[in-house]
Point group: C2
Chain length 280, copies 2
C-alpha cells in the first residue's frame, strides 16, 4: 500500500528504507538561516522535530539517544568536570550531562539558536536544565569554537551532530577530531553519534580510523535501538586519549535513567560479532 500525506515519511537513500509517522497536526514551520525546522504532533510518538526533512527526535524515543550520548562517555571518565557539547541544540543531551554531580561546567555550541528556542517551546522536558548555573549555551560554529579553543580545556566532548551531509560532514573528519583531541585533557574522552550499525559500518570504521589518526589511542562503538532513525538502530563511538573503557563508574546515587544500565554498558564493551568483523 502507499502512504498518503497524513503521514510524515523520511526515505533514506543509504538504507533503501523509510520510516513514517502518522500525523495529527503541524505545529511549527520555520526556515532559519541554517535549516528548515518543522514540528509535528504525531498519533503515537508524541511530538516530532524535523530538520530539512530529516527526523531529529520524537517525544517517545529520544531518551535512548540522549542517555547513550552522555552516560557511557561520562561514566568511562573517573571525574568529568568540564564537558563540551557540539550541536545538541535540543538540549536533551545537556540535561543528561548535568545529572552528573562531578560536572562543573557544560558548554553547548550549536550553530542555530532557533533549535534551542523551538525545543524550549515544544520539548520543554528536554530543556529542564537550560537554566542550570553550570550550563553555558553558545550559538556559534562548533568547528570554529574547537579550533579557537585553548589546549586541554575539557574532560568529555560530545558530538551531537546531524548526519554527515553538507557542513556537518566536517564533524566526522580527522581535522576536526585533531582539534578535539588537542582541547581534551589527559584521560579525556570524545563521543560522537555514529549512524546505523546495520547499514553504515563503513562510516563507523572511517570515523574510528579518523579518531585514531587524530591522536586518540582507543575507540569503541556502542549500539542502541532508536526507532525514529534510519534502520531503527543507531550507535555512538567513543575515543579515549589513553582511556580504558572497561573502568566504568556506576551512576551517582539518585540519578535515574530510563534506558541506560551499568549492566548493559558492561555488556556493550564486547562488540556484536558482525560489527567486530566489519571494524577489523
Amino acid at each position: 500500500m502507499t502512504l498518503d500525506n497524513s503521514w510524515f515519511s523520511e526515505p533514506y537513500d543509504v538504507t533503501g528504507s523509510a520510516f513514517s509517522l502518522k500525523i495529527k497536526a503541524k505545529l511549527h514551520d520555520e526556515q532559519t538561516p541554517f535549516q528548515h525546522i518543522e514540528i509535528y504532533e504525531t498519533e503515537s510518538y508524541g511530538r516530532l522535530m524535523v530538520f530539512d526533512g530529516c527526523v531529529m527526535l520524537t517525544t517517545l524515543d529520544n531518551f535512548i539517544y540522549h542517555e547513550m550520548m552522555s552516560h557511557p562517555a561520562l561514566l568511562s571518565h573517573p571525574e568529568p568536570c568540564d564537558v563540551l557539547i557540539i550541536g545538541g541544540g535540543d538540549c536533551g543531551t545537556l540535561r543528561e550531562v548535568l545529572k552528573h554531580d562531578s560536572v562543573q561546567r557544560c558548554v553547548q555550541v550549536d550553530i542555530d539558536e532557533r533549535v534551542t528556542r523551538v525545543s524550549e517551546d515544544y520539548f520543554p522536558e528536554l530543556c529542564d536544565s537550560n537554566n542550570d548555573a553550570r550550563a553555558e549555551l553558545l550559538f556559534d560554529d562548533g568547528i570554529q569554537y574547537v579550533a579557537d579553543c585553548a589546549d586541554a580545556q575539557f574532560d568529555v566532548i560530545i558530538i551531537d551532530s546531524t548526519d554527515p551531509v553538507g557542513q556537518a560532514a566536517r564533524l566526522f573528519g580527522t581535522e576536526f577530531y585533531t582539534d578535539c583531541q588537542r582541547i581534551t585533557r589527559d584521560g579525556g574522552i570524545l563521543v560522537a553519534q555514529s549512524e546505523s550499525p546495520l547499514k553504515q559500518l563503513d562510516l563507523i570504521k572511517s570515523m574510528s580510523n579518523n579518531m585514531r589518526s587524530a591522536g586518540y589511542s582507543s575507540t569503541h562503538t556502542f549500539e542502541f535501538p532508536q526507532s525514529c532513525y534510519p534502520t531503527g538502530w543507531w550507535s555512538c563511538t567513543l575515543a579515549g586519549k589513553e582511556n580504558n573503557f572497561e573502568n566504568i563508574r556506576p551512576l551517582d546515587n539518585g540519578v535515574t535513567t530510563k534506558y541506560y544500565t551499568t549492566e548493559s554498558h558492561l555488556g556493550g564493551l564486547v562488540l556484536r560479532p558482525f560489527i567486530q568483523d566489519a571494524l577489523k
Copy 2:
C-alpha cells in the same frame, strides 16, 4: 513526502508508525489455505517475506531475531536435549537451535507447509539444517500438537509466532501456556516472541502474567533491535519452570553468532528501567 508504489509499506495501527522498503521486484505471490505470502527483492535489505501484508523477515536483519529466539533460552538451560518450535516455518530459528550439540531432537510445528517450501526457495541460507537428522518438520496446528502431547517431553519450547491477531492470538494466552508448561520437563524453559518494548509493554506484561498463571515460576524479557519490525525494536519473553535465568552457559566451542554475545546476555538480565517500571 508520500511514498509511491515503488515501496513496500507496512503501517502499524498499534504504533502509528510505518516501515517501508524500496522494492526492485516481486519474486513470488501465493495465497495458501492459511495466508497470503509475498516475496520481494528489495534495494538494500536483500529479500523480504510478507504474510498478509505484514513483514516477516528480510535477508539483512533476520539473524538478530533468530539468534535471540534461540540462544538465550537454550543457554539458560543446563543441557537442552529436546526442543519444540511452534511456528518458525522459515526455519531460521531451527538452524540456530541445531547449532547446539546437546540438542538431540528439534520438532518444528508450523501450520503452513508453504512457508517452509517458499523459504527453501528464497531464503535457502535459513534452511541449512532442514535435513539435519535431529530436525523433525511437522505441518500441523501447533496448539493442537501441544494439547495432544504427553507430559514432560521437551526441555525448551520456542513460540516463533506471528502477531497476536486472529488464530495466532491463542499463542499468547494462558490456556496454551498451561499446555506448554505441562509438556515441559522440570528445569525447562519457554520463550515467545513478545512484540515491541517501545509500544507494547502492556502485551509483554499480559504475556508474562499469563505465563505465571500457567504455572511457570519466573519470567524475563530480553529486548533487541529488529529493523524490519514495528518501532525497529523487538523482544522475547522467557518463562522457567524453576529456572534461574542467571546461570547461563557460554556458547559451545566453534558455534558462531553475528549478534548474540554472552556479555550482552548477562547485561540483558537487568531490565531497562522503563521496562522494569512497566512490568511491575
